[in-house]
Amino acid sequence: MPNLKLSAWEIVEIARNPKRKTALDYINRIFDDFIELHGDRKFKDDKAIVCGLARIEKQNFTIIAEQKGRTTKENIERNFGMPNPESYRKAIRFMKQAEKFKRPVVTFIDTKGAYPGIGAEERGQGEAIAKSMFEMAKLEVPVISIVIGEGSSGGALAIGVANKVFMLENAIYSILSPEGYSSILWKDSSKYKEAAEKMKLTAKDLYDLKVIDKIIKEPQKDGEVDFEKLANNLKKEIVNAINELKNLEPKKIVQNRYEKFRNMGEYIKL
């Protein structure tokens, strides 16, 4: 259990490590016959989110995944995993098809955040994120979201309104980056390590806060993550969750998801 010794900031560094497995690594390892399909049918194909169809045995799935690159070239193509509004509109298109063809949806979350750019604002980044959550909340098929790396801000949550939210042991999920947090709250961007500790962004913190449903362990082998083992475990968890949810009436599936998010955050009655 080496993780007990890791500080929150060390986990942030692991989550951001360019060598860390990306969404497509998981998709190709866990699912059969993944076929990527492109475009939002409105403006373009934004490559920070990958959409497509895949199977596990006889069960079909719709896949929606935030995809980072590993090389500079890949990262430029993927916009460093920071979606433009078109990515969310593409995601919405695939959510609706998932419902039409009764396929469960699996989303992979891994982003520094939605892209802050002129074009992104011109094309309604805020509206795209809001609409993505809105459509996701209504889906009458099971939805599972897995935070695999960095889950930062509304750009992550936009594809995270799921019946079950899983999170890898060394992934992070937060309101924004620790750097941004310390600079906004403490007017001092150098206090990012302290911010990481304060923000409750680790899988354990988020499990305790009931933001996520399950922590997926990252088993080690020879000082590295045993990806085969990890992927197998994740696959089992996906199958189990789908088996639990798929026989529910469509309305119950929606209600199950609704109640989860309706109860987000405790408060004190005065």
Partner: protein, 283 residues
């Protein structure tokens, strides 16, 4: 998700304080836009608009209520709640207490029912004076509760947004309020009820990326700054200056993200008129 634009304005205010004019506190204020020293009452009597240049000052909840809701008809929801301070920040509860005393507000949003020219609505009004109108669990819960009340009472919903976004002090719990309010709006939509979202200066971040952008009708006040990402963040990311008029209400109208820009003096009658066009959709 807090706006940088706001910071810029604060900087301007600090500069203004250095000017040689000695402004007696309480009676006078300086226009943030044109710099004119104004008699406070003249501004208040002018719907909080600068009589010199037409700049829209931000409005306190009470003033906004006076402007929009028929006198004596507002009934606040009986929902007095407080954050659990989920990140255990030492100074956050103290900050909230100080703000409550200073602003006379309980939180960054007030919610209840009231009449608009005799039409009963559920009304939510945010206030930038309370931690920049940011959304933590209290704001998220009150907005969600209001949506549920609109469904229960079969009433139109009107939300006046002004917000820097999700509230930093409550971390991920604030972020989750985006999903909470949005999920509730799916039910309002299904119930066939009208939701009018009014964007006022400034509306940013997690509020823009949730309920503020999901109105059946979206109105905005002239020149209000509205966006997802803050301007400084965008400038730092792209490494260039932003175009003139970027993220103004006029910019959003041009790009198709709001229905109409409405002057402050016309807001009440416009909302009333829109409600008339939407009768009969309730399920």
């Amino acid at each position: 998700m807090i706006v940088d634009k706001i910071k810029k304005r604060e900087v301007q205010t600090v500069k203004n304080k250095k000017s040689k004019v000695d402004i007696p506190i309480g009676k006078w204020l300086k226009c943030e836009k044109c710099g004119e020293i104004l008699y406070k009452e003249a501004v208040t009597n002018n719907l909080n608009i600068c009589p010199n240049c037409g700049y829209y000052f931000r409005m306190h909840i009470d003033k906004r209520l006076d402007l929009i809701i028929d006198q004596g008809t507002y009934e606040r929801f009986n929902l007095d709640i407080e954050t659990t301070n989920p990140l255990n920040l030492e100074d956050y509860p103290k900050k909230l207490k100080t703000l409550r005393e200073k602003t006379g507000l309980k939180e960054a949003v007030a919610c209840g029912t009231g009449n608009i020219n005799g039409e009963k609505v559920v009304i939510c009004i945010m206030d930038s004076g309370f931690l920049m109108g940011s959304m933590g669990v209290v704001v998220g819960e009150k907005i969600t509760y209001s949506i549920e009340q609109a469904i229960k009472q079969k009433l139109p919903l009107v939300i006046f947004s002004v917000s820097g976004g999700a509230r930093m002090q409550e971390g991920i719990i604030s972020l989750m309020q985006m999903a909470k309010t949005t999920s509730a709006l799916t039910k309002l939509d299904k119930a066939g009820l009208l939701y009018i979202s009014v964007l006022t200066d400034p509306t940013y971040g997690g509020v823009t990326a949730s309920f503020a952008s999901l109105g059946d009708i979206i109105l905005a006040e002239p020149k209000a700054m509205i966006g997802f990402a803050g301007q400084r963040v965008i400038e730092q990311t792209i490494g260039e200056a932003l175009p003139q008029g970027f993220q103004t209400a006029e910019f959003l109208l041009e790009h198709g993200f709001i229905d109409k820009i409405v002057e402050r003096k016309d807001l009440k009658d416009t909302i009333y008129k829109l409600i008339q066009f939407h009768k009969g959709g309730e399920k």
